[in-house]
Assembly symmetry: C2
Homo-oligomer: 419 residues x 2
C-alpha cells in the first residue's frame, strides 16, 4: 500500500465505523479513523455500568488496540467541526484532512423535544461519563436517604424515574430495582432499600414498541413482577430538580434518567443537506449522501427505509451491516464496478428485564422469560468477542448472579455534600 492510495476517512468509531474499518483491512486504501474518544464502546451493556454491574473498562476498548494489526489504518483523536464537501476535506478546528471517500458514522444523542433544560436533571445514557454520572446519582440518592429524617424527602430520594420504554429504559428500570432490592438490601441501617420505587414512563401505548405486542405484554408483566411501576400513554410534561410531571401527575423524585428520543449528531448540518425529523441524513439506497457520491452516512447518522417502508431503527446490527456494505462498495468502486443498494437483513431483537427475564423476537420464533434471558446472555458474550474483557464480563455476571452483589458500586467524580 502506497502513500498514493485512496484516502478513506471514517468519522466516528461506533459499531458502524468500526465494522467498515475492519472490512477494509487489506484493501488498497489508506484509512483514517477520527473520533473524539479513544475508545470504542459496547453500548448495549452501558446500562450495566450505570447500575454498577460492570465497570467501564469491561465494555470499552481503545480504538488503537482494535486496529493495531491493520497496517492501512491510522487513528486520530480529534473533534470534527465541519466538512468542506467541495474541497473534499474534513475540518478539525484549524486543521484540515483531505479525503477521497468519507464515511460519516457519528451516532446520536438524546433528544429532549425542545426542552434542553431538562438534561441537567434527567441525563441520558450514551457515553462512559454518562454512565458513571448516573451511577453516582443513583448511589448518592441511597446515601442521602440513609441520613435523611424527613419521610417525604426520604421517599423522594428513594424514587427513581426512567423516561422511555424502549430497550434501554426497560433494562435500566429492571437493573435499578434489582440493585435496590438485592445488592443494597442489607447495606443500610436507617432505610430499607427494598422500599425503593422505580417508575418507568412511556408516552406510547406499550413498552418495547419495536417488538410484537405479545412480547411487549410479556416484558410489561416481567417488569411488574420485579416491582417496576409502568406508566403508559403519558408523556412527560415537566422535569426539574426534584420532580417530574407526567400528564396530570407530579412524582417527587431526585433521580430521573432519560432514555427517550434520539437526535442525530450534526453531520447533516456539516454538509448543508436535509435531515429527517431527528436530524439524520436521508441517504440514497447505496447509503451515499444525495449529490455527493463520495460521502456515505451510516448508522444513527443516516435515515433509510427498510423493506416495509419504515425507517430502519437505530440499533447496532443496522450500523454494522451498513459499515460492511460501504466497505464493500468502496472496494467495488476501486475495481470500477457499481455498488448494489443496501439491504438490511433483520435477524432479531432482544431486550432484557432483570436477571432472569428477557424477550427475544426472531420473526416466527418469539421467546420470553428465562430462555430468552439465556439467549440474551449468550448473544452478548458472543458479541463482546474481540473485547479483551469478555472473560472478566462473564465472571462479573456469574459473580453477580450467584451473590446478588453489584461489584462496581463506586461513587466518583464529586465529593459528597453535607445536607
Amino acid at each position: 500500500m502506497t502513500k498514493g492510495a485512496p484516502h478513506v476517512v471514517i468519522v466516528g468509531v461506533g459499531f458502524g465505523g468500526l465494522s467498515a474499518a475492519r472490512a477494509l483491512a487489506g484493501a488498497p486504501v489508506r484509512i483514517t479513523l477520527i473520533d473524539r474518544r479513544n475508545h470504542h464502546l459496547f453500548q448495549p451493556l452501558l446500562y450495566q455500568v450505570a447500575t454498577a454491574g460492570l465497570s467501564p473498562s469491561e465494555i470499552a476498548q481503545p480504538i488503537r488496540s482494535i486496529v493495531r494489526g491493520q497496517a492501512n489504518t491510522s487513528v486520530l483523536l480529534a473533534e470534527v467541526t465541519g466538512v468542506d464537501a467541495d474541497a473534499r476535506t474534513v475540518l478539525l478546528g484549524d486543521r484540515r484532512i483531505a479525503y477521497d471517500h468519507l464515511m460519516l458514522a457519528t451516532g446520536a444523542r438524546h433528544a429532549y423535544f425542545g426542552h434542553d433544560e431538562w438534561e441537567a436533571h434527567a441525563p441520558g445514557l450514551k457515553r462512559i461519563e454518562d454512565a458513571t454520572e448516573i451511577r453516582r446519582r443513583i448511589l448518592t440518592a441511597f446515601e442521602a436517604a440513609e441520613s435523611m429524617d424527613d419521610p417525604a424527602a426520604r421517599r423522594s430520594l428513594l424514587t427513581f424515574v426512567v423516561v422511555g420504554g424502549g430497550p434501554t429504559g426497560v433494562e435500566l428500570a429492571g437493573a435499578i430495582v434489582e440493585l435496590a432490592r438485592r445488592a443494597l438490601a442489607a447495606d443500610f441501617r436507617a432505610i430499607d432499600p427494598r422500599q425503593t420505587r422505580v417508575v418507568l414512563v412511556e408516552a406510547g401505548e406499550r413498552v418495547l414498541p419495536a417488538f410484537p405486542e405479545s412480547l411487549s405484554a410479556a416484558a410489561h408483566r416481567a417488569l411488574e413482577r420485579l416491582g417496576v411501576e409502568v406508566r403508559l400513554g403519558t408523556p412527560v410534561t415537566d422535569v426539574d430538580a426534584d420532580s417530574v410531571r407526567i400528564g396530570g401527575v407530579l412524582i417527587a423524585t431526585r433521580t430521573i434518567i432519560w432514555a427517550a428520543g434520539v437526535a442525530a449528531s450534526p453531520a447533516a448540518r456539516w454538509l448543508g443537506v436535509a435531515g429527517d425529523r431527528s436530524g439524520r441524513i436521508v441517504v440514497a439506497p447505496d447509503l451515499t449522501v444525495p449529490g455527493r457520491p463520495e460521502i456515505f452516512a451510516i448508522g444513527d447518522t443516516a435515515s433509510i427505509a427498510g423493506r416495509d417502508g419504515r425507517p430502519l431503527p437505530g440499533v447496532a446490527p443496522v450500523a454494522k451491516q451498513q459499515g460492511r456494505h460501504v466497505a464493500a462498495a468502496i472496494r467495488l468502486r476501486l475495481a470500477g464496478r457499481p455498488a448494489p443498494p443496501f439491504r438490511y437483513r433483520h435477524f432479531g431483537n432482544m431486550a432484557t428485564i432483570g436477571r432472569k427475564a428477557a424477550v427475544a423476537d426472531f420473526g416466527r420464533i418469539r421467546l420470553s422469560g428465562l430462555p430468552a434471558w439465556l439467549l440474551w446472555g449468550a448473544a452478548h458474550v458472543y458479541f463482546l468477542i474481540g473485547f479483551r474483557n469478555r472473560l472478566a464480563v462473564v465472571l462479573n455476571w456469574l459473580w453477580a448472579y450467584a451473590t446478588f452483589q453489584n461489584g462496581s458500586r463506586l461513587i466518583t467524580g464529586s465529593t459528597i455534600k453535607n445536607r
Copy 2:
C-alpha cells in the same frame, strides 16, 4: 447491643479506620464510620489504575458491603468539618454527631512545600479520581504527540516526569515506561512510543530512602535497565504547564506527576492541638491525643516514634496495626482495664519496579529482582483478600503479563480539544 451502648465514631475508612472497625465487630459498642467517599481504597495498587493496568473497581470496595454483616456498625457518607472536643461531638456542617470514643483516621494528602500552585500541573495520587485524571493525562499526551508535527513539542509530550523517589514514584515511573514501550508500542503510526522519556526525580541521595542502601541501589539499577532516567540529589525548584525545573536543569514536559511530600489532613486543626512538621497529631504512646483520652489518632493522621526513635512511616501496616490496637484499647477500657502502649511490629517493606523486578526488605532477608517481584505479587493478592475482585485482579495481571497489554486504557472525563 442496645441503643445505650457507648458510641465509637471513626472518621476515615482507610486501612486504619477499617481495621479498627473490623476489630470491634461484636463488641458492646455502636460504631459509626464516617467518610467522604463510599469506598475503601486499596491504595498500594492505585498507581496501576493511573497507568491503565487495573480499573478502579478492582481496587475499591463499597464501605457498606465490607461491614454489611457487622450489626453494631453503620456508615455515614459525609464530610467532617470539625470536632467540638469539649462537647464530644463531631461536626458535619450543620449536623452534629455525639461520640464516646473518637478515632481520627483521616489520612494524608500530598504536600507541595508551599507551592500549592504546582498541584494543577503536577497532580498527586491519593484518590480514584486522581488516578483516572493521571491516566487521562498520560494517554492524552501520546494522542497529542501522534498528531503533532513539531519535533520539540512532540518530545515534550513524550517526556514524563515523576517527582519523588519513594515507592509510589518508583512504581509509577516503572509502570509508565512499560506502558509506553510494551502496551502502546505498536499502536501509533506517526510516533514511536518506545522513544518515551521517563524521568524520576528525587531530592535525596537515593531512591527508596526507607530501604537499606543495597536495595536502593538494586532498585536504581532495575529502573535504569527499564529505561527510566533517575536524577538524584536535585529538588524541584519550579513547575509549570510545560516544564519542570530541577536544580539548574529545565526539562520540557507536558506530564508531571507528584509523588513527594505528605501533608496530614486537618485533624490537628479540628482539635486545636500541635501537629508535627507534616501536620500530623503527635499522639501519646497509647495513640490518644494529649489531654483527650477519648480521642485517638492513627495512621497518617498521627505522629509517633518507633523503637528506633524515628517517627513511624505512613504505610498501610502501621495504620492497620494502630487500628487494631485502638480497638483492643477500647475493649479493655470497657472492661475497666488500662490499655498498653502501641508497639509497631515491622514485618518488611516492598516496592516493585515494572513487571519483573522488585525489592523486599525483611531485616536480615533482603530480596531483589524476580524473587522479590513474585513475593510482591503474592503479598498483594493476599492483602486484596476481602476485595471481591481478587480474582479479576489476578486475571488482569496474568493477561497483562502474557500479552503486554494494558487493558484499562480509557480516556474519560474530558473531550479532546483540537490543537
